[in-house]
Symmetry: C2
C-alpha cells in the first residue's frame, strides 16, 4: 500500500470496509486521476439539470440543495472530502438537487458511464460504491431525524457532531495517520448555511449558537465556526445514536465478490 496521490479521504473511508485489493486501488487511482479545481460559489450541478459526470471531492466543502417556488433554499446535505457527487449519474437523466461549492474545491471527475465499466471490471469496487451510497442514505435519515424531531439547539449540535464524525473518518480513518490537526475542527459553516440546512431562520440560529458559545462548546468566527468540545456537543444533543459507519465483515460477501468463484 504505497502513498496515495489523490483521494486519501475516500481511501480512508473505504479502509473501514477492508474489501478492496491492491488491484482495485490502482483501478480507482486511474479512474480518479482527472483532477480539477473550482472556486467558491461554483454551481457544479444544476437543479433539475443533467448529470454529465461523476465527481469525488478531494478537498473542500459543498452543499446539495433544492430551491422552493418561494425562493427559499433547503440544504439537503453537506458534501465533504471523500463524498461523491452524481454517483448514480448513469442511471438517472437529471438531478433533483443542485450542488454548490461553499469553499474552493478540488474534485476528481469522470464520465458517469465509466463507473459502469469499472464496476464490471471489479465487482469489489461496485460493492464499495454501493456501501458509500448506503452511507449517503443514512446521512439523509439523520437529517430527517434532526429536522423532524429535534428542537433548534439540539438540531445544531447534532449536525455539528455528525459532520465532525464524518471529517474524522475521512481525515484519519487509518490507524497509522497522525492525530488530527487543530485545523480539522474548523468548519466553513455560516449561520445562514446552518439555517438553510436545518429549517431555521438565521436569527434563531444565531441565538442558539450564542448559547453554545456561552457553554464553551463552539467558537464563532467570520464565515465559520470551530468545535471546542465535540463530546460536550454530543452530550448536549442527548447523544442520539449516530449512523453506524461500520461495514459488514461478512466472509460470504467477500466470497461472493471473488472473481474466481
Amino acid at each position: 500500500m504505497g502513498q496515495r496521490l489523490v483521494s486519501d479521504a475516500l481511501y480512508n473511508r473505504l479502509q473501514k470496509l477492508s474489501l478492496l485489493e491492491d488491484e482495485d486501488r490502482s483501478i480507482l487511482d486511474r479512474l480518479l486521476a482527472r483532477v480539477h479545481d473550482y472556486p467558491v460559489g461554483e454551481t457544479v450541478v444544476e437543479e433539475g439539470g443533467p448529470i454529465a459526470r461523476t465527481r469525488l471531492i478531494l478537498a473542500g466543502w459543498a452543499i446539495r440543495y433544492r430551491t422552493l417556488h418561494d425562493g427559499s433554499r433547503q440544504i439537503v446535505n453537506f458534501v465533504l472530502p471523500g463524498d461523491s457527487i452524481g454517483l448514480y449519474g448513469a442511471l438517472f437523466p437529471s438531478s433533483d438537487s443542485g450542488v454548490e461549492l461553499v469553499t474552493d474545491c478540488r474534485l476528481a471527475e469522470f464520465p458517469c458511464d465509466e463507473l459502469i465499466a469499472t464496476c464490471r471490471q471489479s465487482p469489489r469496487i461496485g460493492a464499495a460504491l454501493c456501501w458509500i451510497g448506503g452511507q449517503d442514505e443514512r446521512m439523509l435519515e439523520q437529517q430527517i431525524l434532526r429536522i423532524g424531531a429535534m428542537n433548534a439547539a439540539t438540531r445544531i449540535s447534532h449536525l455539528l457532531v455528525e459532520i465532525h464524525h464524518r471529517l474524522l473518518l475521512a481525515l484519519q480513518g487509518r490507524e497509522d495517520v497522525v492525530r488530527i490537526p487543530e485545523q480539522a475542527l474548523w468548519m466553513p459553516l455560516t449561520q445562514q448555511l446552518v439555517g438553510e440546512a436545518l429549517g431555521l431562520s438565521k436569527v434563531h440560529v444565531n441565538r442558539c449558537c450564542r448559547r453554545l458559545v456561552h457553554e464553551g462548546l463552539i467558537e464563532i468566527s467570520r464565515g465559520g465556526l470551530r468545535l471546542l468540545d465535540p463530546e460536550g456537543l454530543d452530550r448536549f444533543c442527548g447523544g442520539e445514536r449516530p449512523s453506524s459507519t461500520r461495514a459488514s465483515a461478512s466472509p460470504s460477501l467477500e466470497r461472493g465478490l471473488d472473481p474466481e468463484t
Copy 2:
C-alpha cells in the same frame, strides 16, 4: 412477457427502466419466490438490529422509523408495494432504522447474500437495484424538503401527492393495465402517523386535515384517508417539483451491462 405471479409492483416500477431481459425476470422470479405474510404491527426490522434478510413488499404498507431518547418516533419513510427493505443488508451489519408494518403485509424474503450472487449473475439486475436505491434516496430528499422548508398544511398535501404518485407507478406502471380502481386512492394513514412522519403534533395534523377536507381535497375516515382530488392537492402545495422517476435511456448504459461485451 407472461403473467407475473409475484411482485407486480416491482415489475411495474422496473418497466420504466426498460433494462431487464426476460432472462433477468426469471432470475428475479426465483429470487422472490419465497413469500410470507405478516400481521399489522409486526416489527420486521429492529432499530439497531441486524439485517438478516432482504425483503420486497408485495402488498401492504410499512414505515421506516427511528426512536429518540425522549420516546418520540420519527417516521423516515413510508414503504409501499414494490419497495425494498434491507436492500443494503449485505453491506451493513445493522440497521439504523426500524421497520414496522402499518397494515397486514405480504413480503418476499431472501438472505441478503443472495443478492450479491444475483448481481454477479446479472449485472442488469444489479443496475436495476441501484436504480431503486437511488429512488429511495430521492424520496428521503423530498422528505427533507417537506419537513425543512414547508408549513404544516403544505407538508401534508405534498406527502399525499408523493405517495399517490408512487402508488400509481407501482400499481399501473404498464400501459396495458386497466385504470386504477377507486380503492387505490385509499391510504391507511392515521393522523398520528402523518404527524410522526412530518414532525407535527397529531392535534395540528388534525386541524390541517380538516381544512383539506373542507376544500374537498381529501376525505377522512376511521384509520385512514382518501384522496379526492390529487391535482387539487398538487396545486395546494404549490406543485413543488416531485422527484423525477424517469430513468436514463443511455444506450451506453445498456452496452456497458451487456454480458457479451
